[in-house]
């Protein structure tokens, strides 16, 4: 590689790393406990467990909703959802109005077998909620998310430029050589190079999927105004029904029209992801891959009749597939532990990188002779 070209790559690596490092350190440190979010939540919060053994026939969703509303007087259901890790539990998202502020919503856990109300966990406060918000938007909302997304892209640039500058710096060394007997600067350079090269794939995948996740709000908005609006089509403008049809019947209709799938989330009429007069049932597949993807099915909320079903657009599928690749929650506890170790490895790369920059800068300054130093200092009052 030509000297000039190498200098350019070095400059790109130096500055892309320097700018993103403080934020990446924040993300890696807050991300570490978030990997075990479910485990920490289960350990610290006493959740009411569903009846065991579960009845052979699960309770009707209409019973579940009625019992939920009885436990939350004055509130309405916005969404019904299921969690893979708690198959015996149905979750109801309730709010003061169907189009209420998402920040005011709360979740009711219901026993899927008996339909009985279990509890209303507080998901908005506590250390984990604080860390999650710090990790996703630094308490700055959408601008914070987009800023962190830009830092994720900058991190990917730092990794790629790091691969380019790694080659020339390893000319006289073999892969994995660690010169522990040399001065600290050399030791940390070797450690930085080794950890950095070993973590290339993981850092690129987690960095890029993290950036994609920061665009989630925008992607979902585009989906709402694009495909979901198109699905509602001629039914737009129909008033909210006085009485909603059977939710259980709506799910049965959706299952009958989309074979090999099961409900994942149901948006109630009037919520941002449905029309005023329809249930939107988001169906998911049953294989490890298709369980990550959804297919929206529009069901008339006046008679539970089928209206329309579409394949989710590519950008929504890309977002949904990027989420597990960022969170590392798709391969059980073993993968979560690996995710934590790789996260710690990334912290090592970031800290050693920062140290190398500071140490090299200090050495450069120290090399300047007293005369040079005097020349380098700006002359007070000079026009230059």
């Amino acid at each position: 590689m030509r000297q000039k070209s190498l200098r350019r790559w070095n400059w790109v690596h130096e500055w892309s790393s320097l700018i993103c490092t403080p934020f990446l350190l924040l993300l890696c440190i807050t991300g570490l406990p978030l990997i075990f979010h479910h485990e920490i939540h289960d350990f610290t919060v006493e959740l009411v467990q569903p009846a065991s053994p579960a009845p052979e026939q699960p309770a009707s969703l209409d019973t579940v909703v009625a019992n939920g509303l009885a436990a939350a007087p004055g509130q309405v259901v916005q969404y019904v959802s299921w969690d893979e890790e708690q198959p015996d539990v149905v979750m109801l998202t309730v709010n003061s109005a169907v189009n209420g502020n998402p920040g005011d919503a709360s979740v009711l856990r219901m026993d899927a077998g008996t339909g009985v109300f279990l509890d209303r966990p507080d998901l908005q406060t506590g250390v984990m909620a604080f860390l999650l918000q710090l990790h996703t938007d630094m308490f700055l909302g959408l601008p914070g998310k987009l800023f962190l997304g830009a830092m994720g892209i900058l991190f990917c640039i730092a990794v790629i430029s790091g691969i380019v500058v790694y080659g020339p710096s390893m000319r006289k060394l073999s892969f994995g050589d660690l010169r522990l007997e040399r001065i600290r600067l050399i030791r940390w350079l070797d450690l930085h190079n080794l950890a950095g090269t070993l973590l290339i794939a993981w850092t690129l995948v987690v960095g890029f999927t993290g950036a994609v996740n920061t665009w989630a709000d925008l992607v979902l908005q585009v989906w709402r105004f694009d495909q979901l609006t198109e699905m509602v089509g001629e039914h737009r403008g129909r008033p909210h029904p006085e009485t909603l049809s059977s939710l259980q019947q709506a799910v049965t209709t959706a299952e009958a029209n989309v074979s090999g799938m099961e409900p994942s989330v149901i948006a109630f009429p009037g919520t941002p992801f449905s029309s005023e007069s329809h249930y939107m049932v988001f169906m998911k597949g049953k294989t490890p891959l298709t369980a990550r993807l959804v297919k929206p099915v529009l069901i008339d909320a006046t008679n539970s009749a089928f209206t329309d079903a579409r394949q989710a657009p590519w950008y929504v599928s890309a977002l949904l597939l990027s989420q597990p690749l960022h969170f590392g929650d798709y391969g059980g506890l073993a993968l979560k532990i690996l995710w934590a170790l790789l996260d710690i490895g990334t912290i090592v790369v970031l800290i050693t990188g920062l140290y190398l920059w500071v140490a090299r800068r200090a050495r450069k300054l120290a090399r300047l002779s007293p005369l040079d130093k005097r020349d380098a200092e700006p002359v007070v009052g000079s026009k230059a």
Partner: protein, 61 residues
Amino acid sequence: MRSSTYALPALFALGAAAGLVLALIADGAWEWIACALVAAPVVAFAWLLRRARVEQAANRP
């Protein structure tokens, strides 16, 4: 292979990328293979660090 600048890093990167994707679509034994592929760089790092420490201790007068 160790003397090649990019051979082993590329091998580890390809293995880890394959492991990450495989874990997303695999079930059962394949899931463990996927985890092993993702774990390979961590194991390599620990092994190389240990080897360097042992060599350093052996060379110390």
